[in-house]
C-alpha cells in the first residue's frame, strides 16, 4: 500500500515500530502535494521545511527510546483560521495577509504534543463564511473527486487535502456545517464535536456561541483518534467544558440502538442523496438497530435563526479588524476614515454582507424582532431535540441536500445558505454531528450521511458512524486516480 493511502493510526504505528520514519511519511505527502495541489489548490501555505524538521525530531526521539505520542509522524493539514506562532495566518482574508500570530492555538499545541506534524495551512471561505470555498480572498479550492466542482465549505481546503491524500488528517471549524458539508461533498469523514469539548483559543472567531473545531479523516476511527487528542479542558477558553473524549470503545456496534430519521431534514433533498440515505437506513436495520422517522419541528426554523445569530456575532467579532493592531491598514484623513477604507478594501463581499446583516439585526428597533426571536427559536430547537432523544439514541439525516455543485452555480447568497439546512440545527443546540461518506449519488459524486447525538454523546455518534462506514461502498478517489484507472 502506498504511504499516502495508509490510515493515520497505521502511519503512527509504523513510525513507533520504526518500519517507516516520520520523515518518509512527511516526504511522501509533500510529494503528493507537489504533484497534485496545482489541480486542487487545497493549501494557502505548505510548511515543507518546518514539517521535515519536525519529522526528523520525532525520528530522533524514537531513536533515543522516548515516548512520542499517539499521532507520531502523522501529517495534519490545518484550516488557516487557527493561529500558529510565527507562521502567516490569514483566514483567507486580504485584511490579514502577512499576519504572523504571536501565539499558537491550543489545538495545535495539543496535536504537536501528540507527535503530529502540521504540513500546511488550508484554504477556506474568508473568515469561514461560505459553503464552497469560492469566497476565499485568494483563490478557490477544487473538489479532488471532480475538479470542475466545489469542495464545499467553509473548511473546503481541509476536506480536499484529506480526500486528495495530501494528509490523512485535517482540522476544520464548524459554525453552521463548515466541517460536515465539505466532508460530505469530498467523500471524507468530518465531525463537529459538542460545543465546548475542544478549545477555541487561537481559532479566529466568527460566531463565538457556535464555532467549534473538529477533525477530518478518511475513516471514522482516525477522526475519533484525532478528536481524543484535541478534546480537553483549556483554561484559556472560558467556554471549555472540562470533558475529554475516549476513542477506545466506539466499535461495539449498533444492535438494539434506536435511531431516528429527522423528517424536517428530508425536504429538498436530491433523488441521489435521498437514495444514499435509504441505503444507509437499510444497513443500520441490517446491523440490528431500530430505525424510525421522527419530527424535530423547530429544526425548520434553524436556517432563519442562524442567519440572524451568526451574522450578529460576526459583526461584533470582526470589529477588531480595524487597521490598528494587526493586518491591513489603508490610511485615511482621520481614524474613522481609516476604519472605513481599511475594512472596505480588506473584506470580501460575503463578509461585508454578513457584517451588515448582523449590524442590522442588532440595531435599535429590530433587536427584539430579529435577534431576540432567533434566540428564542434556539431554545425551541434544543427542546425539540431533547424530546427526540427521549425516544432515540441518535438521529440521522443527509449531511447536505445535494452533491458538490459546479463553480459559480450558486451565485445568489440565499441559495448558497441552503447548503447548510441539515447541519445548522446542531450548532444552534451545541450538539455533536458527524458526516460519514456513504457511496455516490448524482453523477458519481460522493454523499455523506449525518449522525447527530445529544451533548457529549460523541461515543454514541461514533458507534453509528462506524456501523455506516462498515456498510458503505468503497471510498471515492481523487480524479487523477480514477482517470489513470480507466
Amino acid at each position: 500500500m502506498a504511504i499516502v493511502d495508509m490510515s493515520a493510526r497505521e502511519m503512527a504505528a509504523a513510525v513507533r515500530s520504526r518500519e517507516l520514519s516520520a520523515l518518509e511519511i512527511v516526504d511522501a505527502h509533500l510529494a503528493e502535494i507537489d504533484a497534485h495541489d496545482h489541480e486542487v489548490r487545497a493549501f494557502l501555505l505548505v510548511l515543507g521545511d518546518e514539517a521535515r524538521r519536525r519529522a526528523s525530531q520525532i525520528d530522533a526521539a524514537i531513536a533515543r527510546g522516548e515516548e512520542v505520542g499517539p499521532l507520531a509522524g502523522v501529517p495534519v493539514a490545518v484550516k488557516d483560521n487557527m493561529a500558529l506562532r510565527g507562521v502567516e495566518t490569514t483566514c483567507a482574508s486580504r485584511i490579514l495577509a502577512g499576519w504572523r500570530p504571536p501565539y499558537t492555538a491550543t489545538v495545535l499545541e495539543r496535536i504537536e504534543a501528540a507527535g503530529a506534524v502540521v504540513i500546511g495551512k488550508t484554504n477556506l471561505d474568508e473568515f469561514a463564511m461560505g459553503s464552497s470555498t469560492e469566497n476565499s480572498g485568494f483563490f478557490a479550492t477544487r473538489n479532488p473527486v471532480d475538479t470542475s466542482r466545489v469542495p464545499g465549505g467553509s473548511s473546503g481546503g481541509s476536506a480536499a487535502a484529506v480526500a486528495a491524500r495530501f494528509a490523512p488528517l485535517a482540522l476544520g471549524s464548524d459554525t453552521g456545517g463548515s466541517i460536515r458539508q465539505p466532508a460530505s461533498l469530498c467523500g471524507v469523514v468530518g465531525a463537529k464535536p459538542t460545543y465546548g469539548l475542544v478549545s477555541r483559543y487561537g481559532l479566529i472567531a466568527f460566531a463565538s456561541s457556535l464555532d467549534q473545531i473538529g477533525p477530518f479523516a478518511r475513516n471514522v476511527e482516525d477522526a475519533a483518534a484525532l478528536l481524543s487528542v484535541i478534546a480537553a479542558h483549556d483554561a484559556k477558553d472560558s467556554t471549555s467544558l472540562g470533558a475529554g473524549f475516549d476513542a477506545s470503545e466506539i466499535a461495539t456496534g449498533v444492535r438494539g440502538m434506536r435511531i431516528g430519521v429527522v423528517e424536517e431534514m428530508l425536504d429538498g433533498v436530491s433523488p441521489g442523496v435521498s437514495s444514499v440515505l435509504d441505503s444507509a437506513i437499510a444497513s443500520l436495520v441490517e446491523a440490528g438497530a431500530t430505525v424510525e422517522r421522527v419530527s424535530v419541528p423547530a429544526a425548520r426554523f434553524g436556517l432563519s435563526a442562524y442567519y440572524l445569530i451568526a451574522p450578529a456575532e460576526a459583526s461584533s467579532n470582526l470589529a477588531r479588524f480595524d487597521g490598528v493592531r494587526f493586518g491591513l491598514r489603508v490610511e485615511g484623513e482621520d481614524i474613522t476614515e481609516t476604519y472605513l477604507r481599511t475594512r472596505a478594501s480588506g473584506f470580501g463581499a460575503e463578509v461585508k454582507r454578513r457584517i451588515m446583516l448582523g449590524t442590522y439585526a442588532l440595531s435599535a428597533g429590530y433587536y427584539d424582532a430579529l435577534y431576540g426571536k432567533a434566540q428564542q427559536v434556539r431554545t425551541l430547537i434544543a427542546r425539540d431535540f431533547a424530546a427526540a432523544y427521549e425516544r432515540f439514541d441518535a438521529l440521522i439525516s443527509p449531511t447536505s441536500p445535494t452533491v458538490a455543485f459546479r463553480f459559480g452555480e450558486r451565485s445568489d447568497p440565499l441559495s448558497m445558505y441552503m447548503s447548510d439546512v441539515c447541519t445548522i440545527p446542531s450548532n444552534l443546540a451545541g450538539h455533536p454531528g458527524i458526516s460519514v461518506p456513504f457511496g455516490a449519488a448524482e453523477e458519481g459524486m460522493p454523499a455523506g450521511v449525518q449522525v447527530l447525538a445529544p451533548a457529549l454523546g460523541e461515543a454514541t455518534m461514533f458507534k453509528v458512524a462506524m456501523a455506516l462506514e462498515a456498510a458503505a461502498a468503497k471510498q471515492t478517489v481523487p480524479a487523477w486516480r480514477s482517470a489513470a484507472a480507466s
Partner: protein, 100 residues
Amino acid sequence: MSSDQISREETLHIAHLARLAITDEEAALYASQLSAVLAHARDIGALDIAGVEPTMHAVSMRNVLREDVISRSLDRDEVLASAPSSEAGMFVVPRIAGEG
C-alpha cells in the same frame, strides 16, 4: 417583523455603522440581497413564541474563579511587530479628534 425590505439609503447607513465604505451601486446590490435573507427569516417573525426563554449560548455558563496570580502574557514587542504602525511600546493611529 416590521419590514423585510431594506432601502439603499438604509443599507448605506448600516454600512457606515459597520465602518464599511461602500459605493451607491454596491448599496443597491446589498440592499436586495439583505432583503432576500430577511424575507426568508420572516418565518420566525411569524412564530408566536412569547414567553419562551432565549438561548444566548448552548452551554449554561457561570463564573469560574481562580487565584489572582501573575502569569506570563504575550511578549509586547512581538505583539507590536504585527501592527501597521507602533512607537515607544504603543500603537500609532491616525488623528482621532480635530485639532484645537
